[in-house]
């Protein structure tokens, strides 16, 4: 990023002086721009009058408030920035204490342990009814996206192949399970690998025509591929039932034991009282296991020649070829593996919902998954997981912010502002951490000592 470099030298406060007039001028200009920009958007609202006609109601206070806020904010920012830097004590990197090192080294294991304990803790704390939302909407939903993010990370993060149609493989997985189970009555555990294989097959089908493409061109073709799959699902009504989708898909069973209140149900078999939360908890552990499998496979492959070939491919394709690496196979394995994990996630989605329709597989899903990978830091497993928590968990949190209604009025719905907040977050992120949350790349192999590679040395947005 050039932000640091392009900052004028004069802005560096040498004397610590602060030019109030300049600051007022700057802030005033920003306020003026805000006024101009917000005027057409904020200054009028439409309302239906008594005869159902739309009338425009002016509300002048809104753009003026926005302008004042921007003025104050801008002024404060200039004030803050002009504080002499020398007064801040130089922060020396402290050597982490023994306990901190221990925590850092085993952080991911603590994370896994916390995730395994999560449903139990929730049920214990909130009871079966209260915890359902947390385990289902937060736990399972986030883990699906963690898994999708990790799957796409193989293609985009490691191999550097920009894929905008990843949701197609998610759809293939979901419809594979839906069709195989409803038509042939196959169980989930048979369908899961089949869905993965089918998705991988489609990954290779996509891979072949795009072998020679990179960057923008690849992005366009994969985008089209995602749309083609969705349109086929909509229009091939004989097979997929079109827009109506496939319903009454067999629900998840505990290795053949259904989660029902019957005598041969899960609860009775294990001598528990029946509760619908049992199925949800099972689903939680299922997706957790699938996500961890994705992670384990990716981490393992990164240390093998094929994984290193992916990373080398991201760096320089021509150099790869002249070193004897078969770039065709390398790309196809990346597409196939990424697609396979998408397929697993898809069949999990189908078994969880019990219903699939093309509406679940729109472009916005691909964009969200890609945003998770980019936000997390391309290639970083932990970063992708954190980004998924932030993006998916953040959206869910918005539903909880009822207190905002007290501030903004009764009909204020924070969920409506999801995309606005999401966009602002992305912009902030790209300014503050342009290479993602975790921007260091840890070498997969090392000579004598392992050392993380600073993100500031890494080219961003390189795909």
């Amino acid at each position: 990023m050039q932000i640091q470099a392009s900052k004028p030298v004069a802005a560096e406060p040498v004397s610590g002086g602060f030019d109030i007039m300049a600051a007022v001028k700057d802030a005033g200009f920003a306020a003026l721009v805000t006024l101009g920009l917000s005027f057409p958007i904020l200054a009028f609202r439409t309302q239906e009058d008594i005869s159902n006609h739309l009338i425009v109601v002016p509300r002048w206070s809104w753009p003026i408030t926005a302008a004042i806020l921007v003025f104050v904010g801008r002024f404060a920012a200039i004030l803050f920035r002009s504080r002499p830097r020398a007064t801040r004590a130089p922060t020396l990197p402290k050597a982490p204490s023994a306990s901190a090192t221990f925590l850092i080294r085993y952080a991911s294991w603590f994370g896994v342990a916390a995730l395994i304990a999560f449903p139990m803790v929730m049920v214990a704390a909130l009871g079966a009814g209260g915890s359902l939302k947390w385990i289902n909407n937060y736990g399972i939903q986030i883990l699906i996206y963690v898994m999708l993010g990790w799957g796409l990370n193989i293609v985009v993060g490691l191999s550097g192949l920009l894929d905008l149609g990843y949701v197609a493989f998610y759809a293939v997985g979901a419809y594979s399970y839906a069709l195989l189970s409803t038509t042939f009555g196959l169980s989930f555990w048979i369908c899961l690998p089949l869905a993965g294989l089918l998705a991988a097959f489609w990954g290779i089908i996509l891979g072949f025509p795009v072998l020679r493409l990179r960057g923008d061109y690849l992005a366009i073709v994969t985008l089209a591929f995602g749309e083609i799959i969705r349109l086929v699902l909509i229009n091939w009504t004989d097979l997929t039932n079109g827009y109506a989708g496939i319903s009454s898909i067999p629900r998840a069973t505990f290795f053949g034991v259904p989660f029902t209140d019957d005598d041969d149900g899960f609860a009775h078999l294990f001598g528990m009282d029946y509760s619908p939360i049992q199925r949800t908890i099972f689903l939680f552990y299922l997706i957790l296991a699938l996500a961890l499998l994705t992670n384990a496979v990716t981490l393992r492959l990164r240390r093998l020649p094929v994984g290193r070939a992916w990373e080398a491919l991201r760096e320089d394709e021509i150099a790869c070829r002249s070193l004897g690496i078969n770039t065709t196979n390398t790309k196809l394995t990346a597409f196939a593996l990424g697609a396979m994990f998408g397929g697993f996630a898809g069949s999990f989605f189908a078994v969880r919902q019990g219903f699939v329709s093309p509406e679940s597989f729109t472009f916005i899903e691909s964009a969200t998954i890609l945003a998770i990978v980019v936000l997390g830091g391309m290639g970083s497993q932990i970063g992708v997981a954190l980004a998924a928590v932030l993006m998916i968990g953040g959206t869910e949190i918005l539903r909880e912010l009822d207190f905002l209604k007290a501030v903004f009025g009764r009909d204020f719905d924070p969920v409506q502002y999801r995309m606005l907040i999401f966009g602002a977050g992305m912009v902030l992120m790209m300014i503050l951490k342009p290479r993602g949350i975790i921007s260091t790349r840890t070498p997969s192999i090392f000579y004598k000592e392992q050392k993380a590679i600073s993100g500031s040395l890494v080219k961003e947005g390189h795909g």
Partner: protein, 255 residues
């Protein structure tokens, strides 16, 4: 590696089939002809250099040997085998290694990882041995072993590019402008290393250079390329003495 006991004269008498033979190669970029029928030989154990001005087609020939772009006419054979139609990665597996134009090291990967990528063809069989070998040749790389390739200086990156190519134990090493943009002292270091490889291990080297003076001094034989055709050839010393070569590539050039 083959011992370098034969002298040039002896080899000329025995007339062995060349390790790399290029016959009538024509390469096009779309409709534009870049190589207009090139003939060139590299014997086993030789250092052969190809000099020429910018845009003469030197790098194109280098890339054509590696199959991208492919020669539209003519034959390229390596060790008696026609490699004209082989895909690039299979050509590389015949133990031809390349330090490409612009070095093309893996910038985000460490020196160590870069070297590992170089050794991936022969499944890391001699990795530790070869690592010591390239460290002996370029001690600087050992100091930088855990550093990211892209953060090194141009000279170090060039050393890494050559070292990475050597990790595959090639029989033929193709070097594309190793002196590009480097300080004279570093150029000397790199050329000395190439000389040493050739003398001690008998490595065959095909060197494409703009730095004609150094290249011709180093090489056993040289070719001069102008606009996609070879216009002159001879031993390094012969070419250095030719007034046309001096006028075009040496006077007022690098010394």
């Amino acid at each position: 590696m083959t011992a370098m006991t034969q002298t040039l004269a002896e080899r000329a008498v025995t007339r062995k089939a060349p390790l790399l033979a290029i016959r009538g190669v024509k390469t096009y970029y779309g409709k534009i002809v870049a190589l207009k029928g090139v003939d060139l030989d590299v014997q086993e154990g030789e250092i052969v250099t190809l000099i020429g001005a910018n845009g003469a087609g030197k790098s194109t020939l280098m890339m054509t040997i590696f199959g991208s772009p492919r020669a539209r006419e003519g034959v390229i054979s390596f060790d008696g085998r026609d490699i004209t139609r082989l895909p690039t990665h299979e050509i590389a597996r015949l133990s031809i290694a390349q330090s490409p134009e612009g070095r093309r090291i893996f910038a985000r990967m460490t020196v160590y990882e870069n070297l590992q990528m170089g050794a991936s063809i022969n499944k890391f069989a001699y990795f530790d041995q070869d690592l010591e070998r390239v460290f002996a040749l370029f001690p600087r790389l050992k100091e930088r072993i855990n550093q990211r390739g892209g953060t090194m200086s141009g000279g170090e990156q060039q050393m890494l590019a050559i070292a990475r190519a050597l990790m595959s134990r090639p029989r033929l090493l193709l070097l594309d402008e190793p002196s590009l943009g480097l300080a004279p002292l570093i150029v000397k270091q790199i050329f000395d290393a190439v000389k040493l490889l050739n003398k001690s291990e008998g490595l065959t080297v095909f060197l494409v250079e703009q730095n004609a003076f150094h290249a011709l001094k180093l090489a056993d034989r040289g070719y001069v390329m102008v606009n996609g055709v070879i216009t002159m050839s001879g031993t390094g010393r012969e070419l250095l003495a030719k007034p046309e070569v001096r006028a075009a590539y040496l006077e007022g050039g690098h010394h």
